[in-house]
C-alpha cells in the first residue's frame, strides 16, 4: 500500500449505551476503502450495534461516526443511498416471490423503472437466482435467502456494503458462493464489512476488527495478529483415540497457552519463546492461525480439570457398550422424506457428530433420537431403552442442550436449576448436592438471583450445561452448542464435554461449523436425508486428499463428499 486512501468509514471514541449497559464502549478505528473488513466477535459483543450505527439506523451515545466522508446520524438520507445494509435475518417478505421482493426493495430505494429490468437481470445472474424468480422467498433455502438478501442490498449500487452475519444458517457450499460474490464486488471497488462469530470467515478478510464485550481488542490485518504467536505454535501427532487426553495434559503444562485437538494430533501454543520444551521430533512447528492469537488476546485457555466430570455421580458404563442406537430412522412429511433410513451407533465415551447443510435432515434425525419427533419408520434407543416403548424412561437417561441455550429466561439461575432437578426427579439429598455442586463448579453463586435471560453469554452456556447434566445422563445431545461464542467459551465447553466422555458419557452433536466438528470422534455426514459418509475427521479428510489438495480441511472434505454424491 503506497498511500492510504480515504477510509470508507471511521469511528472515533464511539459509545452506544442501552440503559445501563454499554453495547459499545469507546471504539476508534477506520475502515479502509475498497477492501473487506471482518467484524469479529462472539454474540453480544456489539457487532450488530456497530453496523447499525454505520448504517445510520441509530445515533451514538457519544463519539462520532463518519461514513463515506459524511456523518450518517446528521444527514441520514444522504449516506443511506450509498450504503447497502443486509441485516442478520434479512427483511425478506416470505410470502412474496423472489422477483416481488426485488421490486419492493427497488420501490423503497426509488430506483427508476427503466433501469430496473437491466439491474434485476444483472443481480439475478450474479446471485444465480435467475431460475427461481417465481419462487416464494419463504420456500428458499438458507443460502438462497442470503443471496436474495444480498441482491436486495445491492440494488442501489452501494459503495459500502454492510453484511451482518451473512454466514449464519448457510451451508458451506452456499457460503463459498457468497464469498465468490463478495470477491467480485471487491473487484468492482465496493467496500465490504462482513460480520461474523467464526474465525475461518474472519481469516479470509483483509482487515479485521475484533470486538469483545463492546471493546475493540484488535484492528488490523488478521495475518498480523496471527504473526504475534509465530514460532510458538506446534503440532504433536498422537495415537488415535488419545488426542483428548493428550490435549488436556498439554494444557496443564506450564508455559502452554492453549492446546486443542486437531484430528489425530494436538495443537499447542506456547506462552513465550524460547520454546525448547517443544522440540522435534515429537513437536512440529506449524504456521500460526488467527485463533491461536485470539486465544492469547483473551488471556489463554483456562486450565484445570473439569469439575463437572470429577463430581459425576453415576458409575461409568462398560467401555464400548452402545448407548445410542439408530436403526433405519425414517421420517416423512407428506411426500417429502426428511430422513431416509439413517442408522448409526454411538458407544460409551464417544462423541458423534451429525454434520450436514441446513435442511439436509440432520435436525430431523437428531430430534427423533432425543424423542422430540416420532419416526415414520425405524427405531431409536438411548442407553438400551427404546424411545417409542418407554419414552419417559429413555428420556430420563438423556441430557439435551439446544443451540440457543433454551432456558427459562424469566426464571432466576437458582429457579432454573431447581426446575430441572425436579423434572428429572432428583430427590432431597441428591437434589441438594447436585444443585449445589453445579453452582460451585460453574461459579454461578454470584448470579443465583439473576434472571437467566440477563446473564452474560458465557454464564448462559454454563447454566445450560449445568441444567442438561444435573441428572448425570448417560447420553448428551447437543444442538450446535457453541455457535456464536468466543474461542475461550468454546474451549471451556468442550473441555467439560471431553472430560465427561472419560466417565463413559456418549455425546451426539449436530453442527455445520467445522470448528465444532473437529471435536468429534466420529462424524456422520447427512445429505438429502441420507447418511452419505461416516468416519473420524481424519478419515473423512483422507478421502479427499489429492496432490492438488494435500492438506484438506474438514470443510473441503464436506464439500467434496457432497459434490461427489451430487454428481
Amino acid at each position: 500500500m503506497v498511500t492510504a486512501p480515504e477510509p470508507a468509514a471511521r469511528v472515533q471514541a464511539l459509545v452506544k449505551s442501552f440503559g445501563a449497559t454499554r453495547a459499545l464502549d469507546g471504539i476508534s478505528a477506520s475502515l479502509p476503502a475498497g477492501t473487506i473488513l471482518g467484524l469479529l466477535g462472539p454474540d453480544g459483543s456489539g457487532k450488530t450495534t456497530l453496523i447499525r450505527l454505520l448504517a445510520g439506523l441509530m445515533t451514538p451515545t457519544a463519539g462520532s461516526v463518519e461514513v463515506l466522508g459524511r456523518r450518517p446520524d446528521a444527514e441520514g438520507g444522504a449516506t443511506q443511498a450509498e450504503v447497502g445494509y443486509m441485516p442478520q435475518r434479512f427483511g425478506l417478505y416470505e410470502d412474496l416471490s423472489v422477483l416481488d421482493n426485488l421490486s419492493l426493495y427497488a420501490d423503497l430505494r426509488a430506483l427508476p423503472t427503466p433501469a430496473r429490468q437491466a439491474r434485476f437481470a444483472q443481480l439475478l445472474a450474479f446471485t444465480g437466482l435467475a431460475p427461481f424468480t417465481a419462487r416464494l422467498a419463504g420456500a428458499l433455502s438458507g443460502g438462497m435467502k442470503q443471496k436474495l438478501g444480498l441482491a436486495c442490498a445491492l440494488l442501489g449500487r452501494p459503495r459500502l456494503l454492510l453484511l451482518d452475519e451473512p454466514g449464519v444458517g448457510v451451508d458451506p457450499l452456499s457460503r463459498r458462493e457468497l464469498w465468490r460474490m463478495v470477491n467480485e464486488l471487491l473487484q468492482q471497488g465496493v467496500t465490504v464489512l462482513w460480520s461474523t462469530a467464526y474465525l475461518e470467515e474472519a481469516e479470509r478478510c483483509a482487515h479485521i476488527w475484533l470486538l469483545d464485550a463492546g471493546r475493540l481488542l484488535y484492528a488490523g490485518a488478521p495475518q498480523e495478529l496471527s504473526q504475534r504467536v509465530a514460532g510458538r505454535v506446534f503440532r504433536r501427532p498422537v495415537a488415535a483415540g488419545t488426542a483428548r487426553r493428550a490435549a488436556d495434559a498439554e494444557l496443564e503444562r506450564p508455559g502452554v497457552l492453549d492446546a486443542v485437538i486437531q484430528g489425530a494430533s494436538v495443537r499447542v501454543v506456547a506462552r513465550a519463546v524460547p520454546v525448547a520444551q517443544f522440540a522435534p521430533p515429537a513437536y512440529q512447528a506449524v504456521a500460526p492461525r488467527l485463533e491461536d492469537a485470539y486465544v492469547e488476546l483473551l488471556g489463554g485457555a483456562r486450565k484445570g480439570a473439569s469439575a463437572l466430570a470429577q463430581g459425576w455421580p453415576s458409575r461409568a458404563p462398560e467401555r464400548g457398550s452402545v448407548l445410542v442406537r439408530a436403526r433405519g430412522l425414517t421420517r416423512r412429511f407428506g411426500d417429502f422424506t426428511a430422513a431416509d433410513r439413517v442408522s448409526f451407533e454411538v458407544r460409551a465415551g464417544e462423541i458423534y457428530g451429525l454434520l450436514g447443510p441446513n435442511g439436509a435432515g440432520k435436525s430431523t434425525t437428531f430430534r427423533m433420537l432425543c424423542g422430540l419427533l416420532r419416526p415414520t419408520a425405524g427405531e431409536a434407543s438411548v442407553a438400551g431403552v427404546n424411545l417409542l416403548h418407554a419414552a419417559s424412561q429413555a428420556r430420563a437417561r438423556l441430557g439435551y442442550m439446544a443451540q440457543k441455550f433454551s432456558l427459562y429466561g424469566d426464571l432466576s439461575v437458582r429457579q432454573n436449576l431447581d426446575y430441572f432437578a425436579d423434572i428429572y426427579g432428583l430427590r432431597r439429598e441428591a437434589r441438594r448436592t447436585r444443585v449445589n455442586a453445579m453452582i460451585d463448579m460453574f461459579d454461578l453463586g454470584p448470579h443465583l438471583r439473576d434472571n437467566a435471560a440477563l446473564l452474560p453469554l458465557g454464564y448462559k452456556q454454563r447454566l445450560a450445561l449445568a441444567c442438561a447434566t444435573l441428572h448425570a445422563p448417560a447420553v448428551l445431545f447437543l444442538d450446535e452448542p457453541t455457535s456464536g461464542v468466543d474461542p475461550l467459551m468454546r474451549r471451556e465447553f468442550w473441555h467439560h464435554i471431553g472430560a465427561l466422555t472419560t466417565r463413559g458419557v456418549a455425546v451426539v452433536v449436530t453442527t455445520h461449523f467445522m470448528e465444532e466438528a473437529e471435536y468429534c470422534d466420529r462424524i456422520g455426514l447427512i445429505w438429502r436425508g441420507r447418511k452419505i459418509a461416516e468416519g473420524t475427521p481424519d478419515e473423512l479428510k483422507q478421502r479427499v486428499r489429492s496432490s492438488a489438495h494435500p492438506e484438506p480441511t474438514l470443510e473441503d472434505a464436506f464439500i467434496a463428499l457432497i459434490g461427489s454424491e451430487a454428481a
Binding site: D410, F420, D422, G425, F477
Partner: protein
Amino acid sequence: MLQRLFAIVRKELITMLRDPRARASLIVPPILQLFIFASAATMEVKNISLAVVDLDDGPYAADLEQRLAGAPSFTALPRYPSVQAARKALEREQVLGMLVLPSGLSAQLAREHSGVVQLLMDGRRSNAAQITAQYVTAAITPAGSASAAPLDTAAAAGPVPRAELVIDNWFNPNLEYRWFMLPNLVGTLSLGVALMLTALSVARERELGTFDQTLVSPATPVEIALGKLLPSLLVALLQTTLYLLLVTQLYGVPLRGSLVIFYGAVLAFAAACAGVGLFISSLVHTQQQAFLGAFAVLLPFALLSGFATPVENMPWWLQLFTGVNPLAHMLRLMQGVFLKGSAFAAQAHELMQLVIIALCTTLASVVLFRRKAR
C-alpha cells in the same frame, strides 16, 4: 410424577408472577376493565326524548305523562298536536319515538279497565328503541293491563308482589342494570384470562425453544398439559376472588347464593376455558397464531352467551350452541349466585353441566396435546 407436575406448575407461576410487569398485566387490566365496563357498558338508555301525541286529553294522559317524566331516563316529553307533526320530529331524530294516546282512552279505561295506546319507535336506533319501549311498557302496564286495580292505586302500587325479578329490573333501571352487568362481567372477564394464558404460554415456549427442553425430560405430555392447565385455574381463582370483593363491597351487589357454588363455578369454568386454550395451543406454533385462535373463539363465546343478546331471541340452532358454551352456563350461575339466590338444587344442576363441559374440553385438549407433542 407429582414432583414433576409441581415443578412445572411452579415454573409456570414464577413465569407469570416474577416479572413485575407480567404480574401487573394479570391484575391491573382486569380491574380496569371491570370499572370501565361497569360504568360504560350498561344497557340503560338515558336522555330519551319521547313525543307525546295526546288525542285523548283525559286524566290518564296527564297521569302517564307524569310517571314518564318522573323517570330520570326521560329528559323531554314534547307534546305534538298530531301524529304527522310528531312524525316529522321523529324523522329528524329530534325524538326517539312517539306515544299516541287515542281519543276516548280515559273513558274506555274507566269503563273496561283496559285500553290501547300506540307506541311508534325509531327503528333505525333499534337497541335504544327496544329498551325505551320496555321503559314505557313498564310505566303503563299497571294501568294498561287487564288487572282490576283502579288507576290511582296502580300508580302507587310499585312492584306487583308476585312478579319475578325480571320485572324488578324494569322498575329500577338505574340500579338493576349494574347489578345485571357486574355478575356477567365476572364471568366474561375471567373467560379471557384462563383461555389466553393457556393458549399463549405453550406458543411462547415454542418460540423461545424452552418447550423442547421440557419435552426431552422424563415429564410426560399429560404432566406437561396439566402443568399448563393448573396455573390458569389458580390465576382465575385469584382474579375472581378480587372481583367478588369489588363487586360486593364497592358496588354493593348482593351475594344471595352460596360461595360453594360460586367457587365451584369459577373452577369449572376456568378449567373449561383453559382446556379450550390448550386445544388451541396444540394446533399453533407462534404466539401470533395462538392469539388469533383465541380471539376466534372468544368472540362467539361472548356474543352467544346471553350477555349481549338474550339466548331466547336466538334461532334454535344457535341456542343449541349456547348449551355447550361454558360462558352461557357461567353467566346463569353468576346471576343466580349474586342476584337471584335461586334454589341450590337448580344451581347445582347448572354447575354439573358446566363441570361436564370442563371435563370434556380438558380431556380432549390433553389427548390432542399428547398426540401433537411429538
